[in-house]
Symmetry: C2
Subunit: 126 residues, 2 copies
DNA sequence: ATAAACCCCGTACCCAAGTACAGAGTCAAG
DNA sequence: CTTGACTCTGTACTTGGGTACGGGGTTTAT
């Protein structure tokens, strides 16, 4: 059982972020124990889930849906969302890889030409 | 020579985006030719540069700096920025790749288990 | 000669995902 | 018995990158 600041720390987020997720109903607001609220391991697992899903590029709204699916056990919808995200990730990765490669090439060229217009700046034009 | 809407279309952005870039001094505001302003091929190259640099993950502020470097021919600063971006891109790509792989694995598992808790939702917990 | 379709400028608004702050309560230690 | 560290709620602000709107001025086709 954590206080909100312990909980936030354990999840690697700020206290305000926890409250923000509660407002968004991504996290439940636990019942008070006396004057303050206490967070369980279950809440922590949920918070970590949010972080992981976020790293995979899901938006908070999508994550909310995933969390609700978890309750309703809607298997195929979850898979559908995963597939869509997978495709989006592949596209994004390919784009970044492409940008990375041309930037690397340019930087290399830049090292060799100390005079004249900078290849990095010039070659972006193409 | 383009009108603003032709220019925007040629660059693959909206008219409002062109004006926004002008406000940010990423694009010059060309002199009026009569009542309207006209955009050159040079402006278009600049606009496309912005798009490319953006695809490589540079922020608009960084792009502004790059554009100014182009004027002052500061070679090494441009290379420095390219290096920093390269590192950031590599990190980002690795993260996305990692997220992609675990998501793919989960989705595959999901296809095989039609009963019980969804592996996608469950396994994010780990 | 008038309506559609542009242009100009300035200001305001949008979104996601937080982050900050104000004003009040509670609790333990010195 | 007060000081400091926390908690609570609610509301407002921030950032980045646009997008929209209002009130005017031209230009062009019919």
């Amino acid at each position: 059982m954590f206080t909100i600041s312990q909980f936030a720390q354990a999840g690697g987020v700020g206290v305000e972020t926890v409250r923000f997720y509660q407002r968004k109903t991504l996290l439940p607001v636990p019942a008070r124990q006396g004057s303050t609220r206490h967070y369980s391991e279950d809440d922590l697992r949920r918070l970590k889930f949010i972080k992981k899903a976020q790293a995979a590029g899901f938006t908070l709204d999508e994550i909310k849906e995933l969390l609700h699916l978890d309750v309703s056990h809607d298997h195929s919808r979850a898979n559908e969302m995963a597939q869509a995200r997978l495709i989006a990730l592949d596209i994004k990765i390919a784009e970044l890889q492409q940008a990375r490669d041309s930037l690397a090439k340019l930087s290399l060229q830049c090292c060799h030409t100390n005079k004249g217009p900078c290849p990095i700046l010039k070659a972006f034009d193409i």
